[in-house]
Amino acid sequence: MGNIELAGASFVVLLALIFLRIPIGLSMLAVGIGGTVLVTGSWVPILAQMKSLTYETFSSYSLSIVPLFLLMGQFATRSGMSRGLFRAAAAMIGHKRGGIAMASVAGCAGFGAICGSSLATAATMAQVALPEMKRYGYNGALSTACLAAGGTLGILIPPSFVLVIYAILAEQNIAKLFAAAFVPGILAAIGYVITISLFMRFDPEAAQPAAKASTRERLEAMVEVWPVVLIFLLVVGGIYAGWFTPTEGAAVGTAGTGLVALFRRQLGWSALGECILATAVSSGMIFFIVFGAGVFNSFLAFTQMPQMAAEWVGNAGLSPWLVLAGILLTYLVFGCVMDSVSMILLTVPIFFPIVMTLDFGLSPEDTAIWFGVLVLIVVEVGLITPPVGMNLFIINSMAPDVPLTQTYKGVVFFVLSDLIRVVILAAFPAITLAVLWL
C-alpha cells in the first residue's frame, strides 16, 4: 500500500472507530500509532517519540491556559457570578426571541477577545451559559450549537494563537494580521446573532422568551454583575495594556474569581474540591484529544499526503479563484479530522507560496494578509462541521441530556452562516483589508 492509500485508509478506520463509540482522542492516538508503524515500516520511531511526547504535550505553556480558564469558569459558577452575568443579559435582551443565546454569543466574543483558543472559549462559556439556557427552556439543539459556533470566536477575534503561527510561517506582520482579523471576527459574531433569530423563526418552540424585566430589576441585575465586569475588565484590559500575557491573564482571572467566591463564602474546602474535580474531567478529556491529534497529525505528515494534496492543487493549472476555492475546500475537508494548529503547520508552507504567485489584483502583502484571514476562518469552520468537530464534541459532552444528533442539527445553520461569510470575504477582499488602508 502506498502512502496516499495508507492515509486514505487511516481516515476510514478513524471514522469507523469514532462511530463505534471509541473516545475521539483514543481513536486518533491508536490510528496515529498504527499508521506511523506502517508508514515508517518500524516500531522504532513511534516508540522513541512516546518517551517524551506525552510530557511535552501536557507541559505546554500555551495550553496551560485551558485548565486555568476551566477552573476560572468553575469559580465563576460557584460564586454565582456567571448567573449574575446571565441575569443581567437576560434582563436586557432575555425577553427577545433567542435573547439568551445571543447573549451567549456576545459572551463568547468578549471572551474571545482575551483568549486565543477556540476549545477554551467554548468550554468556559458553555460552563456558564448552558445551565442558564436550560433554566430558560432553550432546546438542546440551539443552546449547544450556538455555543459551539460561538467558541470559534476565540480564534477568530484577535488575539489568536493560529494567526500568530500563520504570521511566523508566512513571515507576515502580526499586528496587521490581528487588525485585519478584527472586522471578520465581528462579522462572525453578528452572523451568529442573525442565525439565532432565523433559527427562532424556523423553530419558534426552541426557546421561551423570559418576561420583560422592569427598569428596577434591570438596575439590580446590573449592580449584581459588577464583580464579573471588574474581573473581565482586569483580564482584558490587563492583556491589552501589557500587564500580562494571555496565559498570565488566565491565572489572574482564576485568582480573581476564586477570591470573589471566597469572599462570598461560596468556596469552602468541599466546594473547592468539586470545582477541581469538574475541571479535572474536562481538562483530562481536552488534553487527551490534543495528544491523540498530535500523534495522528505527525503520522499524516509522515505519509506526506497533506503536502502532496497541496502541491496537486497548486500545479493543476487552474484560474486563481479556482485555486483559492480548492485550497479553502481542502481546509474544510481536513478540518473534519484535524486540529487547526496542525493543519496550518502542515499546509501553509506549501499553500502560501502558491497563493503568492497568483494575481488577485492586490499587493503581495495584502494578498498574504487576506489569505491568512480566510485560512483562519475555514480552519475554524472545521471545528463545528459534523460529523467530527472538536467544539461540537466538547459542548455536547458538557450537556449530557442533549443527544449529539440535536447538536448536529442545530449547528448546520451556523455552518451555513460561516460559509456565506467566507464567500463574501473571499469575493470582497476590501472588507478585510480596509482597516489597513485607512
Partner: protein, 187 residues
Amino acid sequence: MVSQAKGLAPRLERRVGHVIEFITRWLALAGGASLVAITAVTCISVIGRELAGVPIPAFEVFGPIQGDFELVEAGCAFAIFSFLPWCQMRRGHVTVDIFVQPLGPRVNAGLALAGNLLLTACALLIAVKLGEGLVDKRSYSETTFILQMPVWWGYAVALVGAWVFVLASAYTVWRSLNEMLGDGERE
C-alpha cells in the same frame, strides 16, 4: 442491588471500584492543588514584574519570579497526568454515541469494553515510555533553562499519574465487562 450484580466477581469489582475511585479522586485533587499553585506563582510574578517597572528606588526589590513559566509548565504537566485517571473513572472522554445508541445498553457497554481495553494498552505504553523518558533525561542530566531544575523531576511526578491511569483504565475494563454482562452502563 444484589440482583443487579452480574458478571465477573461483581461485588469484588464494586469494592475495588471504591478504592480506585478514592485514589483517583485524591490524585485529581493534588493535580488541582498544583493548578492553584500555578495561579499563585503567576499572579505573584506578574505583580512583582509590574512593581519592578515602577520608577521608585524602593521598588527595586520587586521582580518577577525567576523561571515562573518553567514552574507553570511542570505544574501543568503534573495536573494533567493526575486528571487523566479521574477523567477515565468519571467516563469523561468524548464519544460519538448516535450510531450505536439503537443497539441497546449491553452492546454499548460492550463497545465501551473494547474502548477501555484499547485505552489500557495505550495507557500502559504511555506509562512505560514515560518511565524510559525519565531514565533518559536523568542520564543526560538535562535541566530547565532558567531554574536549572532537573527535567526528570517533572517526569517523576508525572509518572505517578501515568501509572494510576493504567490502574484506572484496567479497572474500567472490568467495570464495563460486568456492565455488558449485566444491564448496561450504570450512570
